[in-house]
């Protein structure tokens, strides 16, 4: 039942959209590279899961979404959160455990959230956010708000129960939700194909829920944007959920602690040659956009990351007053009188 990725759609993505897609991808790339450098300086504590190499998916969807649509993502969620418009400085400060962090130090790298921009949270238990995204879609449906929930998850998620429960519920309730599997080929350290009954962990399961199998090149920003536009539009028009499998590859390991030595060199080389940012840059130049214009985007992204890093580093450590704040809606943590 496996199928090849669908051919990229005709190149009908307009120029401003393409520039926006490129700008977003470069910003996400530079942010995460900077985050990695700050690890090496031991300024980022705990763990962190980078999505270097997977930027086209985050960018493609974010550009296709309405400002009030909902994003639900995983612990590998820096890019998805930033792509919705969250402050880069606040995100970086959260990674550094600073008081000016997005969550005042209470969430950290794995839980970046910016509700004002529709980034409804980064969830760090595999699979949990699929039913939650379905619930946000249910709410949008009964409120008749026209909002769509988009839920990003890794290939490993397709083997956990919540994936199947959420898909079934989304279909029987015809919910406006798009499930996007970022198949980066590895479930943590293990090749996904070695632990999965089907070749394409999401696409090959779609038929079990009466959905079309959608398998696309996740390293092609035009393809991701067009796929997103189609699936989101369908959900918004009452067409119900979609399940998209986007083939991609993370440049680094699963997390900070993982040097990813288990991956064959040839495989890594092959995927790096299809890096979404480099590829898109070449596409823009081939499409007649001047090198100067593309360079300006690159330079501005670097400047933005530099400024965010500076602001984050200048933040005070998170305040210990935060510990007992915001357990409850009254802002506090009291459990007794």
């Amino acid at each position: 039942m496996s199928k090849k990725p669908e051919a990229p759609p005709a190149a009908d993505v307009d120029r401003p959209t393409r520039l926006r897609l490129y700008q977003l991808m470069v910003e996400l790339r530079d942010f995460e590279q900077r985050a990695y450098e700050l690890f090496l300086e031991n300024l980022v504590r705990g763990t962190s899961h980078l999505a270097l190499g997977q930027e086209a998916i985050a960018a493609g969807y974010a550009v296709a979404m309405r400002p009030d649509d909902y994003t639900f993502c995983t612990y590998r969620g820096h890019g998805h959160t930033l792509a919705r418009g969250a402050s880069m400085a606040a995100a970086m400060a959260e990674l550094l455990g600073r008081g000016n962090g997005m969550l005042h130090g209470k969430g950290g790298s794995m839980h970046l959230t910016d509700v004002k921009h529709g980034a409804m949270g980064s969830y760090a238990i595999v699979g949990a956010h699929l039913p939650i995204a379905a619930g946000a879609a249910w709410s949008a449906q009964v409120r008749k708000s026209g909002q769509v929930a988009v839920c990003f998850f890794g290939d490993g998620t397709t083997n956990i129960g919540a994936f199947h429960e959420a898909l079934n519920l989304a279909v029987i309730w015809n919910l406006p939700v798009v499930f996007v599997c970022e198949n980066n080929q590895y479930m943590e350290y293990t090749p996904i194909r070695s632990v999965t009954a089907v070749e394409h962990p999401a696409a090959d399961r779609a038929s079990a829920y009466g959905l079309e199998p959608i398998l696309v090149d996740g390293n092609d920003a035009d393809v991701m944007y067009e796929t997103a536009r189609h699936a989101i539009g369908n959900a918004r028009n009452g067409g119900g959920p979609s399940l998209v499998e986007a083939l991609t590859y993370r440049h680094g390991g699963h997390s900070r602690a993982d040097p990813a030595k288990y991956r064959p060199d040839a495989e890594v080389r092959d995927w790096l040659s299809r890096d979404p940012v480099t590829r898109y840059r070449e596409l823009l130049l081939a499409a007649g956009i001047s090198e100067a214009e593309v360079n300006t985007i690159d330079t501005r992204a670097q400047q933005k990351v530099d400024a965010a890093t500076e602001e984050a580093r200048n933040g005070a450590p998170a305040s210990v007053d935060e510990i007992e704040r915001q357990v409850w809606s009254d802002g506090g943590a009291a459990w007794r009188n």
Binding site: Y70, F72, M102, L103, H104, K106, G107, H111, T113, D114, V115, K116, M120, G121, Y123, I125, G127, A128, H129, L130, P131, I132, A133, A134, G135, A136, A137, W138, S139, A140, V142, R143, A149, G161, A162, E165, A166, N168, L169, I172, W173, E322, R325, Q326, V327, W328, S329, G331, A333, A334, W335, R336, N337
Partner: protein, 324 residues
């Protein structure tokens, strides 16, 4: 006042809140046309329709997850988990997601969600359909935990839970569903976090929860015949916990007994005992005594189950022996 059974009071509480607030939705397994397996939601489907009273598949993670996502985005859902034992199948959703997301996001989201669940023993269902699991929920920061003992509280506390801006796990003791009692007519809303003194005595204080409350009251009657005058406090809400009332009533009598349906280890009474020992040790005239189910899975056979759970006789005997 109207006389309602506990199960009718639950339905009345949900109906009251669904009538009042169009954002209240109710989902769960068999809650629609079937009216719930315990018949605690009879009539809601007919009254509010399939849109607001929705049957789900047997997918507890999807039930709680969907309810949470909806609560984060404008609805006030009530999600039913048929037996509290099944909370284990969606504990990630409850303990990791529902409880922590507000805190982790520094208050960016609120989760006004009620998780109703049938709890406790006395029905001969065996160890996987009889547990008393309030302490699981109590152990997780970010969850409120409520367990009513009367039809009036079933309605009033459920209404309060639905109006609460934070997640509430609402335990309904199965053995109480058929119990009848007076319920105020018209709108009835209690406050979460208030214990209730049901009997005022001079010699000892018995603190109980849910199905153990009527047993503690019956034991107090028997003890009175022996000249032991017991105060009985219905805790009603474990989080928030009304320690003020509990401490006050313990100080008055100098003795504390807890009656807990849960197995021994880490039951809610252990926390109450710890607080009392910390904060009014000098007022105590004797040891704090916990009366619980032994630390075993609950057996099915009637004689075994009855002997395992704290009975009126065991409560009476334990207090009498300890007060001697």
């Amino acid at each position: 006042m109207a006389e309602l059974s506990f199960r009718e009071a639950i339905a009345a509480g949900i109906a009251q809140e669904m009538e009042r607030d169009p954002m209240v939705y109710f989902i769960g397994e068999d809650v629609g046309a079937a009216g719930g397996v315990f018949k605690a939601t009879v009539g809601l489907f007919e009254r509010f329709g399939a849109e607001r009273v929705r049957d789900t598949p047997i997918s507890e993670q999807a039930i709680i997850g969907a309810a949470m996502g909806a609560a984060m985005t404008g609805l006030r859902p009530i999600a039913e988990i048929m037996f509290s034992d099944f909370l284990a199948t969606c504990w990630d959703m409850i303990a990791n997601q529902v409880a922590k997301t507000r805190y982790m996001t520094d208050g960016q989201v609120s989760i006004p969600l009620v998780i109703r669940t049938a709890n406790g023993g006395g029905t001969r269902f065996g160890a996987q359909h009889s547990q008393s699991l309030e302490n699981w929920a109590m152990a997780v920061p970010g969850l409120k935990v409520v367990a009513p003992s009367t039809p009036a509280d079933a309605k009033g506390l459920l209404a309060a839970a639905i109006r609460d801006p934070d997640p509430v796990v609402f335990f309904e003791q199965k053995s109480l569903y058929g119990v009848k009692g007076d319920v105020p007519e018209g709108e009835h809303v209690e406050r979460l976090g208030e214990a209730k003194v049901l009997r005022d005595g001079a010699h000892c204080t018995i603190v109980a929860l849910a199905a153990m409350v009527p047993r503690a009251l019956a034991a107090a009657q028997k003890l009175a015949a022996d000249g032991i005058d017991a105060t009985v406090v219905d805790v009603r809400s474990l989080v928030p916990l009304d320690t003020r009332t509990i401490l006050r009533e313990v100080v008055k009598t100098g003795r504390l007994f807890t009656v807990e349906e849960n197995p021994r280890l880490c039951g809610w009474g252990a926390e109450v005992a710890s607080i009392v020992a910390d904060e009014c040790f000098d007022e105590l005239d004797g040891p704090i005594v916990r009366i619980t189910t032994p630390h075993v899975p609950l057996p099915a056979a009637d004689v075994l189950e009855d002997a395992a759970m704290p009975s009126v006789e065991r409560i009476t005997q334990t207090v009498r022996d300890s007060m001697r």
